[in-house]
Symmetry: C2
Subunit: 366 residues, 2 copies
């Protein structure tokens, strides 16, 4: 990854905004700009912050626990520790670097911390400016090297799915399957799952975000598996729904409808359409069949270093898609008591359509 | 858990502060007040917010994906969905409930969202007040029912450790051990690990937050395992360090020093002393032996619904401990190139000392 080029883009943006530096606290932005991969243990426990000046070397500010990792992963930065906390370090560092105006990430800074930062900076004569979306706007369009990593992540996720799928029996429980998925991911080289795997059988699959339980998979009923992993820093995300045993007429009707909606969504994707347009293309298929109330979430979301990122394929996103964006297409129909069916693939937006990243076809076209 | 009593305490606090309601967004606070266990997928993707009025019924505001879980886990609340987002719902709900002044959690609200919330409320004639620590101040003292759950969590964590420990061989890799730990936790009934297990061999154990790798455990060198789980909503956290094979004189010297520091910390704990006092009691032991620079983190942290919570046993905490607080005691010595040794137990603060929650003694007293 060409971190230097990315930093230069941020620095050019800072100069346009007449800012001397920006604090980058959002973990995916941090990783995107320097390769440092440590995760925050929640926003309250940061694994570090980048201080990017409008010119010159980037500073990676962190604590003792992460020092060796930071130095190994981001040798192009100056790693500095803050034994007395970030604000105490900034009190020395900002004057040393001649910073008189400082941006911070409004979308990943706590209200309480922002208040203390603004006060501290005011005392130093430094102007603070909340910013939103500066690095996200870069991340939303994937470079070729990123697409390669996403392809590899999707391929490995499918390999894990196939291995698990082949070993599901009527004796399997949801939680056993979930453990098998996450164990297999790590064994095959994933950094980690990209989210907690969803394995839901029968009526439990009517919860879009079901938590796997000690429950045996039910014969002839929907079994939904939503899984993803992180490989070389990039996420994958795929959902398959199928029935162990025999799928009855109702199952087939709903499954085919979800697939039809997914294909309508995929067909609608190309540079220049809005997230709302694509969401509606898929939603209309489901609504016309009378299940509009049973599809309560958005059609899809961006995927990259973060498992959920921009752009959203939702009624609320009126922005235009651009070539090089990566999104999921995941319609679902959820019927309380009966269960749910969701099908999810990932695609790359192109000028004239989209490229489907998945090759797995398990139970897609029935 | 007596959620009603906890809500009444919050409501009494609101009346003292002359606030009509508070928004509770912090996930552990949310769970503490109503039992709803969904985790946020990062602060940007909330699984819901509690609206606690100064009197009357609590509202749990969430989205479609979590509806059934919210209704099942928190039937005492009114579950309301926000298909157009939280702010759009509050626009209707705050006037309906007659809310004229609203607190929000400054320590778990993004700067950008707080800005929009404040603006929206101003338009409705509602005063907004940032609050910090209101629910945390309740959570910091554990009720007896909570201590029972923490004890059970610690006991299960030790059971998992013993099972894993018995099966480590020179062929084991760090990552295999980490997978075995997390699989065993789930098999024995844990909700999940309370953090990503740390398994670090040899020089890698010098990173306090090492990520397990595909590396075989080295003979005669430190092997550090830091693991915890969540059982019935409550966390455990334990670190053991040992050597496969033969521990040499240097290993024994450092290990005994860390244990001596841990015992000094434990001996210093009782209601009325500060977190700083306890940290210093342990740190002095290590510093006097010449390893002060090699113990770069705080001595311990609170544990409960969250794996890291108040109080901190650190030089920066000048507040007094109280009976019923639960903390870890985890000194460590980290020597780049050689490795690290950390030993961690959990204790309950009592008026005249503390109660050690661990019974595992593996490689503690050599």
């Amino acid at each position: 990854m060409n971190y230097q080029r990315r930093i230069e883009k941020v620095q050019a943006a800072l100069r346009r905004k007449k800012l001397d530096a920006i604090l980058i606290s959002q973990p995916a932005n941090r990783r995107y700009l320097c390769g440092y991969s440590a995760a925050d243990h929640g926003i309250e426990e940061s694994a570090g912050v980048l201080l990017v000046p409008s010119g010159g070397r980037v500073h990676l500010l962190t604590d003792f626990r992460f020092q060796l990792q930071a130095e190994a992963e981001a040798p192009q930065t100056t790693v500095t520790l803050y034994p007395k906390g970030l604000l105490a370090l900034l009190q020395d560092l900002l004057p040393d670097l001649g910073v008189r105006s400082l941006g911070f990430e409004s979308d990943y800074t706590l209200h309480s911390f922002a208040g203390r930062l603004i006060e501290k900076c005011a005392g130093l004569g430094v102007k603070t400016v909340p910013l939103a979306g500066l690095v996200e706007a870069m991340r939303i369009i994937k470079e070729d090297a990123e697409l390669d990593r996403i392809r590899a992540s999707v391929a490995l996720n499918e390999q894990v799915f196939q291995e698990i799928y082949a070993n599901i029996t009527p004796e399997s429980t949801e939680i056993e399957i979930a453990i098998a998925i996450e164990t297999c991911m790590r064994r095959l080289g994933a950094e980690s799952p990209s989210f907690s795997s969803i394995v839901a059988t029968g009526g439990r699959s009517a919860l879009p975000h079901a938590v796997p339980g000690p429950v045996r998979v039910l014969q002839d009923q929907p079994l939904m598996i939503d899984m993803g992993l992180i490989l070389d820093g990039y996420c994958s995300d795929m959902t398959r729904t199928f029935a162990l045993g025999k799928a009855d007429a109702r199952y087939l009707e709903i499954h085919r409808l979800v697939r039809k909606a997914q294909l309508a969504g995929i067909q609608a994707i190309r540079a220049g359409v809005t997230g709302r347009d694509v969401d509606r293309a898929a939603r209309d298929v489901i609504a016309k069949a009378g299940y509009g109330q049973n599809f309560g979430h958005a059609l899809g979301h961006g995927v990259g270093i973060a498992i959920h990122e921009e752009p959203r394929l939702s009624a609320r996103n009126r922005k235009h898609l651009k070539s090089g964006m990566v999104v999921t297409v995941e319609p679902g129909i959820y019927i309380p008591g009966w269960g749910g069916i969701r099908l999810e693939n990932m695609v790359v937006v192109r000028e004239d359509g989209c490229e489907i990243l998945n090759s797995d076809t398990t139970w897609l076209d029935l």
